[in-house]
Symmetry: C2
Subunit: 209 residues, 2 copies
Amino acid sequence: MSTSRTIPAKTGNARTKLLDAAIALVRRQGFSATSVDQLCQMAGVTKGAFFHHFANKDALGAAAADHWTDTSSSLFMEADYNRHADPLDRYLAYLDFRDEIATGEVAEFTCYAGTSLQECYGSSDAIRDAAYQSIAGHSARLAEDLDQAIAQYGAPEGVTGLSLGLYTQAALQGAFILAKGQGNAAPVHDAIAHLRRYILMLFNREGKI
Amino acid sequence: MSTSRTIPAKTGNARTKLLDAAIALVRRQGFSATSVDQLCQMAGVTKGAFFHHFANKDALGAAAADHWTDTSSSLFMEADYNRHADPLDRYLAYLDFRDEIATGEVAEFTCYAGTSLQECYGSSDAIRDAAYQSIAGHSARLAEDLDQAIAQYGAPEGVTGLSLGLYTQAALQGAFILAKGQGNAAPVHDAIAHLRRYILMLFNREGKI
């Protein structure tokens, strides 16, 4: 998941400020490179407040993945694409929405969950599990629409909603890495165009391919 | 790119040993979490040897991306899939090869370039550029086959070999992240199955989809 809309770090309580700071700093520079001091400074809270809320930096990293899940779930659940009655239209409009929000600085549209999972999977079970759950949960939500589309329109044997949902996230997460290399969102727009074309062909849907 | 075959850290000169150690440690724990002491210990070289070969850790990280490019280029260039006369067959056999080498521990089949690019893009221009060049160069090699396939079989307007090559790498890189969450290569195999189905449909090629 990714969104350029996060709660500004200066609002909310100390815990929320630290979670928002973690998301902003990890997207920009990674988890290990982000110090407790930097987190406290960006959040505008004391070290005492940090350790009141979190046992250590790993605990904050895992809680930040849950916070990321919550804020991005709200963003996607409230988005206009859900209004479509047809499940395939909902998926295609979801891609349009992803296309639309892939804008601005790279650190603003890339994914806290994917970035922290990539870096911390071997060093923190808590971050790995919370970050993966963020991506898997988002995929499962997409899978509901895709399973409805498969029931309604059919699909090749072995193609499931969950498999397509996870593949959608894989293509987006990988495109974020390419975007970091290019310094812009072009790879994300390209990946979405390929995903759209794949889905249209898979479901024999007429449309701009 | 990724490969489970790397030169063992105990062979070669000090520089090569350090490059191999960087690739092994960064794939397992990320770049920032990897210290110069750990690198020297794994490579079995002194700190003096480290700073004889590299100005700092960032310089090693960038050189390791070039080393990754060299070793994985050899692996792919020498692989059996290149024997196919038909360019689309070559691409499909490349996917089979990627499927085959996605095995073993997660740190053994995931990608040094993708991992270091994800983490260091904001903090080290040298690592970012070398890591992106590794992925982009591999995509460009794939694009040669794909452009030949497009010339031979046609493709929808706007589909280019390079766009498909980069999309292939995006899907693989993102699947590596999911593999880190699941602790196994299943997401890589799934992503390759979707890529294969997409390409077969795109080129109207008969085959198991």
